[in-house]
């Protein structure tokens, strides 16, 4: 299971996700798997997460930005520290119980 950022309010969570999804280093141009050369005409990575999830326990969150992702973007440790200080998320191990029960959510 992965870790998530979580907050008590939707506004806090949305502000953080907006910052992440609009980071100046996005979109990311991928590389061709064989040549390792940039493939700007192919699908680019345009955002980290698509939406804030309202959890069953009343909190709001989305999956934590991974170290691998931060490393690939070249985000400095200073910027990582500033990010956490600015948005102040609680970092928690993902719990499937946060997600609305399948019957309520559209199981298809």
């Amino acid at each position: 299971m992965s870790e998530w950022y979580r907050w008590d309010t939707l506004a806090e969570a949305q502000a953080c996700l907006n910052y992440v999804n609009n980071h100046p280093k996005l979109p990311v141009v991928g590389v061709n798997a064989a040549t390792k050369k940039p493939a700007p005409d192919k699908q680019q990575t345009t955002q980290w997460a698509s939406e804030v999830i309202e959890c069953n326990d009343g909190k709001f969150g989305f999956p934590r930005v991974t170290t691998a992702w931060l490393d690939s973007l070249g985000i400095t440790q200073e910027e990582r520290d500033t990010f956490l200080a600015t948005f102040n998320p609680t970092i928690e191990e993902f719990d499937p119980a946060w997600i609305p029960a399948a019957e309520e959510y559209n199981v298809r």
Binding site: V28, N32, A33, A34, K42, T45, T66, I99, V107, R108
Partner: protein, 278 residues
């Protein structure tokens, strides 16, 4: 012209001056595919990645139905091999934000017929709707685990006039296998499933064809909330639902991915791979 078939590992001698034509191995490039996704071939399939995360897996067939994922935390990974070949895998467990690729406007052939062949290795299952792939529209289906702790294989439809098809209740987690799903609307009016070339379960009759355009999801279900925890090596999608074509594609996949020993003894490609021109 005489044909000589030589089993793998057999030595034979050719007299000087003789003319010998050797047939190359058959691949899906020899037929019309609806789509062909091959994770093992990192060159022509043009897997596009950032780190190990895949943003695009291209269609090697003529239609260009490239699978994409622009959201980083939903991108599957390409840092694993099975039987020496590269695969694409999803973590599956973080459903709702799970890893998958998709093509948003996948046309279903006018006949309504479609066959999907997948080389896959399910790693684990925690929910029956975790899907290897799905077609999402009003008349649609997904191919999912069918069990909350094992991957049996289930064709779960909506809107086509039937309730679903269960493959044998044998867990397929932890093994590389060839899954074949066939929807034959125009002929028998039935759909069915095969595992390593052997039909499992009883074909199910249905009355309405699939919707003409679908969201096709690779590693995910129609609701986009239950993803496969596992790997996919290759997927071939064709309109032709004949037995001969099914067996040829199964033979191609089995020999390529090292699972030929799992084909039934009476499978025509148990002992020799399909060859060009045959």
């Amino acid at each position: 012209m005489a044909k000589l078939t030589v089993p793998a590992g057999t030595r034979f001698f050719i007299t000087a001056g003789a003319r010998v034509v050797v047939n190359a191995g058959w691949t899906p490039a020899e037929m019309t595919t609806e789509a062909w996704y091959d994770a093992s071939d990192t060159s022509p399939t043009n897997i596009v990645q950032s780190g190990d995360s895949v943003s695009q897996l291209s269609d090697k067939g003529p239609n260009g139905y490239h699978l994409t994922q622009g959201t980083a935390e939903q991108q599957p990974q390409t840092n694993r091999t099975i039987n020496g070949l590269n695969v694409i895998h999803g973590a599956g467990s973080d459903f709702m934000t799970g890893e998958h690729l998709e093509y948003g406007t996948f046309p279903i052939p006018a006949s309504g017929d479609i066959a999907i062949f997948v080389v896959a290795y399910p790693d684990s299952v925690v929910q029956q709707n975790q899907s290897m792939f799905s077609f999402d529209a009003s008349n649609d289906f997904q191919f999912d685990a069918g069990n909350n702790s094992a991957f049996y294989g289930r064709i779960k439809p909506d809107g086509i006039g039937s309730s679903g098809y269960d493959m044998n209740a044998v867990d397929k987690v932890g093994a590389l296998g060839i899954f074949s799903v066939q929807l034959d609307f125009n002929g028998a009016g039935q759909y069915t499933g095969f595992y390593n070339g052997t039909e499992e379960g009883t074909p199910v009759s249905y009355t309405a064809k699939l919707s003409s355009t679908q969201v096709f999801r690779f590693l995910g279900n129609r609701g986009n909330n239950y993803m496969l925890d596992g790997a996919i090596g290759e997927m071939v999608i064709v309109e032709d639902v004949t037995t001969a074509t099914r067996q040829k594609i199964e033979g191609y996949l089995a020999w390529k991915w090292g699972t030929k020993d799992n084909l039934a003894d009476n499978h025509p490609y148990k002992d020799i791979p399909p060859l060009k021109g045959n």
